[in-house]
């Protein structure tokens, strides 16, 4: 008799436990759906390699990094990170409010990071690879960009700033 009880008990799932299991499964499904929708339907940007470049010999726009105006209020911004001088080039950028800026960032030597404070831009900068993200600046202010990927003794000194000014 006791054995039978034991089998029945082991099959029994407490209502609280069953609810826990349900909630966990629903949460997992929600998470999975959120990731999938964000990745594929909403087209969230990934700082994916926009193009490959030769880190020893940066040509084209990289010869003269900085801001390029494509049309009024739409900019491409080319930035190079460097671990000999621990600087971003350029260090200071100014755009009018309401601008949409595409950041193209690469490195001449080792891995760096590029994080634009107070925005959701954060990418790893890999030599030989151009990382790209786009952001629209609707508020006037100064946005610092800093290197987030440890790059040697001058890592902490590696920063720059983007200023958004009134039109």
């Amino acid at each position: 008799m006791s054995e039978q009880n034991a089998t029945q008990e082991s099959m029994h799932i407490d209502p609280y436990e069953r609810n826990w299991i349900r909630i966990s499964i629903i949460l997992l499904i929600v998470f999975a759906a959120a990731v999938t929708i964000a990745g594929f339907a909403l087209g969230f940007q990934v700082p994916s390699p926009e193009e490959r470049v030769d880190p020893n010999n940066l040509t084209g726009p990289w010869e003269n990094p900085g801001l390029r105006e494509l049309s009024p209020g739409v900019y491409d911004l080319y930035i190079i990170g460097n671990a000999t001088t621990w600087q971003f080039e350029p260090r200071e950028v100014e755009v009018p409010v309401g601008s949409t800026v595409s950041f193209y960032v690469t490195s001449t030597d080792i891995q760096h990071g590029f994080k634009l404070q107070d925005t959701n831009i954060n990418m790893q900068i890999v030599p030989g690879q151009v990382s790209k993200l786009t952001y629209t600046f609707d508020e006037v202010g100064t946005y610092d960009y800093i290197c987030t990927e440890y790059c040697g003794v001058g890592h902490a000194a590696m920063f720059g700033s983007l200023t958004v000014v009134e039109k």
Partner: protein, 653 residues
């Protein structure tokens, strides 16, 4: 070649200095692992305190930039490779044979070799503070003369190439790092083979796999993880060593090397490594909670299989460390999902631990407090870990203090709390005496308070945008107050560690006699005298069920409550008497000089490789190779029998 065997007679002594140096007893090796790891815990802790002093206020000036980089690199490297891993090895070495009813591990001399290689690898790594040199890349405007404190590896514990390539990190400190870790990895690899063999081959009669204590199970999983993940980091370290020493181009972007390759290799090792650090603590907690809840572990099989599942899944999540490095959206989604999946077995364990305590008659001893602290803190860390699986959220957290907060909640709140639970729990077995419960509780509450004061604010600092591995922060970032709180917390932790050291030192000499089974426990190590005799079991036990010892002491009433059998007291007294008085003399393998000799020789090889451009470096290399080869031959020819029979035996070979 027989010279080696005749030069070194097989040593006889099992006490005193030479007894420790030549020992192949798993318990002594475990104790040496423990003390060494604790020494490095103090070193890593001091490094952490320096880091926190530097960051206590904005624009700190305690450390120079070079020193700061050296300190955070050494703090991470030390805590992972020289503290938590060897501390787990200490528990596994000491307890595994006792828990499965064996007299020693499968290969006792190999076990000693693992320890000595680990020790000399650690000494090699730390000798960088004496001999290491640093530098900045050519033309770098921050090139500065580093102090001795700054003359330590400075590439981060993750050592991302190409930053660790010679032109960006000249000097020898990163050679010490890469070769030092290579040596330490060798020790882990050997010990994993040894312990897996021990678990599969040396279990007592009736100790089926699913009757093993959970700690033994978690050790098995960890050792498989080690066996499969250490070779990956070994390959990566060989590559960087070759790049640095012999001009190969694996990570030289300028010549077509791959800058991301290191990240993949490192994290393919690094993520299983995280489970290597946490699973032994999970095993310890799974032993402690049932004993002090007076109940069997809830869902034994679920805990075991969840542990194994973590082992498998742990190899499939590494890219979540590199979501911002430009891997494709499909890969990001896949690794995000696999990271969520690994939370499931972890959650199963947490609920099983809660189920174990549920309706139990809880006894809040120090090990129990640490075990409960583990469950609570690990849950927080686990949940913040799940937030990393959401890719867009992870990009924002990457390289911020939020990550630092997360992994300290799992590795300190998890692994270190689990280790302290184990240290207190098995202290009576180890020493035969009881620790001071009052001091133990002080230790726990101070550490619990200090821990949360240190690491909880890091979540907020990270979300405020405080970036990791950065020497100073500007005053206008408004990060000062919480950073000050963090620093105060770090010193409270340091204070609690001092209490632990005091408690340990005094109690092991003057504590009350513990007897063989002070906790009324469940597993085999409590059926033998405390401290265990050299032969462990006077008679190898026969096991008939999970928690065999408990069932010999307790039966159940109609409602399933445990009722202590009348004969339990006599049983324990009888076990103690018989454990101390074996019927037949027990033959144990003799000690050996060769493990420590090989350990020293391998350290010499390490120095030889670092200084291979000097003639004396080559000489060191040659000495090391010769020492290793000779010792191995001596080892192979070492007679298994007592020294008395050695001479005649030796000549026959």
């Amino acid at each position: 070649m027989t010279a080696a065997t005749t030069i070194f007679r097989r040593p006889k002594t099992t006490s005193g200095f030479w007894g420790w140096v030549t020992t192949i007893d798993h318990k002594k090796i475990g104790i040496m692992y423990g003390y060494t790891a604790f020494f490095f815990l103090i070193m890593g802790g001091l490094e952490a305190l320096l880091l926190r002093l530097q960051l206590a206020g904005p624009e700190g000036q305690i450390l120079s930039q070079a020193e700061y980089n050296a300190m955070f690199t050494m703090h991470g490297t030390t805590m992972v490779f020289l503290v938590v891993m060897p501390m787990s090895a200490a528990f596994m070495n000491y307890l595994l044979p006792l828990m499965i009813g064996a007299r020693d591990v499968a290969f006792p001399r190999l076990n000693a070799l693992s320890f000595w290689i680990f020790l000399f690898g650690g000494i090699f790594l730390y000798s960088t503070f004496l001999f290491g040199t640093t530098g900045a890349p050519e033309g770098g405007f921050l090139a500065e003369e580093a102090s001795r404190l700054g003359s330590a590896p400075n590439g981060g514990w993750f050592g991302y190439a190409p930053n660790t390539e010679p032109q960006f990190s000249p000097g020898t400190v990163l050679d010490y790092w890469s070769i030092g870790l290579q040596i330490i990895g060798l020790a882990s690899l050997m010990s994993s083979v040894n312990l897996i063999t021990t678990i599969f081959n040396l279990r007592a009669k009736g100790m089926r796999l699913l009757r093993m204590p959970v700690f033994a199970w978690m050790s098995l999983v960890v050792n498989f993880l080690l066996m499969f993940s250490i070779p990956i980091i070994a390959v990566a370290l060989f590559m960087i060593t070759f790049d640095r020493q012999f001009g190969s181009q694996f990570f030289q972007t300028a010549n077509g090397g791959d800058p991301i390759l290191w990240q993949h290799l490192f994290w393919l090792f690094g993520h299983p490594e995280v489970y290597i650090l946490i699973l032994p603590a999970m095993g310890i907690v799974s032993e402690v909670l049932p004993v002090f809840s007076r109940k069997p572990l809830f869902g034994y099989a679920a805990v075991v299989f969840a542990g194994a599942a973590i082992g498998f899944l742990g190899f499939g999540v590494w890219a979540h460390h590199m979501f911002s490095s430009g891997i494709s959206p499909v890969a990001q989604a896949a690794f995000g999902l696999s990271t969520m999946t690994i939370a499931i077995p972890t959650g199963i364990k947490i609920f099983n631990w809660l189920g174990t305590m549920w309706m139990g008659r809880l006894q809040f001893t120090t090990p129990m407090l640490f075990a409960i602290g583990f469950v609570a803190m690990f849950t927080i860390g686990g949940l913040s870990g799940v937030t990393h699986s959401i890719v867009p959220s992870d990009w924002q957290q990457t390289d911020t203090y939020y990550i630092v907060a997360h992994f300290h909640y799992v590795l300190f709140g998890g692994a270190i709390f689990g280790i302290f639970a184990g240290l207190y729990y098995w202290f009576p077995k180890l020493t035969g005496r009881m620790y001071s419960e009052r001091l133990g509780k002080w230790h726990f509450w101070l550490m619990f308070l200090g821990f949360n004061l240190t690491f909880a604010p890091m979540h907020w600092l990270g979300l405020q945008g405080m970036v990791r591995r950065t020497w100073q922060y500007a005053a206008d970032m408004n990060l000062g107050p919480w950073n000050m709180a963090v620093t105060i917390g770090a010193f409270i932790i340091a204070g609690s560690i001092l209490i632990f050291m005091w408690n340990w030192t005094v109690s092991r000499r003057r504590g009350a006699e513990a007897g063989i089974d002070p906790w009324d426990a469940r597993t085999l190590e409590w059926t033998i005298p405390s401290p265990p005799p050299e032969y462990n079991f006077a008679e190898i036990p026969t096991v008939t069920s999970l928690d065999d010892f408990w069932h010999r002491k307790y039966s159940e009433d109609e409602e399933g409550r445990a009722v202590r059998r009348e004969e339990a007291g006599t049983l324990v007294a009888d076990l103690e008497y018989r454990g101390n008085n074996p019927e037949k003399p027990i033959h144990l393998p003799s000690p050996s000089y060769f493990p420590i000799l090989i350990g020293i020789s391998i350290m010499l090889i390490g120095y030889g490789i670092v200084y291979n451009s000097f003639a004396w470096g080559i000489a060191l290399l040659a000495a090391g190779v010769l020492g290793t080869a000779t010792s191995f031959i001596g080892w192979a020819q070492e007679p298994a029998e007592e020294p008395a029979e050695e001479e005649t035996d030796g000549e026959e070979h």
